[in-house]
Symmetry: C2
Subunit: 196 residues, 2 copies
Amino acid sequence: MARIKTTQDISRKEVITEAAATLFKEKGYKAASMRDLAEQVGVEAASLYNHIKSKSELLHNICVQVANDFWEHIHEVENKKCTGVEKVEAILRYHIREMITNYEKVYVSDREWKHLTEPYLSNFHTQRREYRKKVASIIEQGIHKGEIKPIDAPTAVLIILHAVSGIDSWHRSKQKISAAELEANMVTILIDGLRK
Amino acid sequence: MARIKTTQDISRKEVITEAAATLFKEKGYKAASMRDLAEQVGVEAASLYNHIKSKSELLHNICVQVANDFWEHIHEVENKKCTGVEKVEAILRYHIREMITNYEKVYVSDREWKHLTEPYLSNFHTQRREYRKKVASIIEQGIHKGEIKPIDAPTAVLIILHAVSGIDSWHRSKQKISAAELEANMVTILIDGLRK
């Protein structure tokens, strides 16, 4: 069970990583400088290096954290005793919630991972591909059992994952429905679209 | 009725615009240089300026072309005598086909429009917002008539438009289904998801 995080638990390094995620999201990883980051955190640029080695380490930490959380979640879902449709719904809801509550990190790991350095780049790319294959395979099992329409599973994965990345527009929109309503609407449209 | 384009019709300027779209997609607008473009077209950088004024003019031309095509299409759809669901399907199919056949330009106008200069930036932004409102309003009419589920229309727009932008992954994937199958699968999932 996940322990509840207290303010004291959030280390200086984590504060810097969170600020980096916000900065990389706003400016893009390439354009963001350590000077910008220092300003965001409210310290001298030099003192950042007491906690982290480089800008590239920050991107790596963000991507690994996000990838591992998603990886752990899909592993739990795979082992659940429930229907294929319910598994896809659990995955969709997790993606939506992460995109809402862990927005900056999820956004950065989704859009900026190509700037990772080797061997992390290849590892991340492989894990990302394997993750999508796992989702496709859950959908295929659902099709096989007659719970999900006979559709092309990779296309369904593409639709689900990209629809979720559209939550970016929701964050930016002024007149928006609540997070719970957003989740309910996305599930209604996407899961009903899959269900046979 | 649209006239069929012959090779002779494609002017030098259009050749340059198409090369610019490919380049802006690959490198991003900001990172792409006129030197890169000249190389792509196979001419000296200086001679590009006989046909176009600046890199910014190229981005403007791409964005305006795409925006006008989509604008014209939705205007046709609005005036069609058919159900709301059929209208949404027509819009979805148009987006999918444009994202397949006019990929580079659609991609660039979708992702790089923020680099437009004023007053084009504001115009484009307004037209983009108005376009989404038109789609939402068609969906709302469908809900009102009981053809579409009682969902939040802007969320449905977000899902549809972002799912279509996922066709980018389809272009990059090696083992892919045909364009017709992709379209059929996307329509099945997304339109069934909306239908009451």
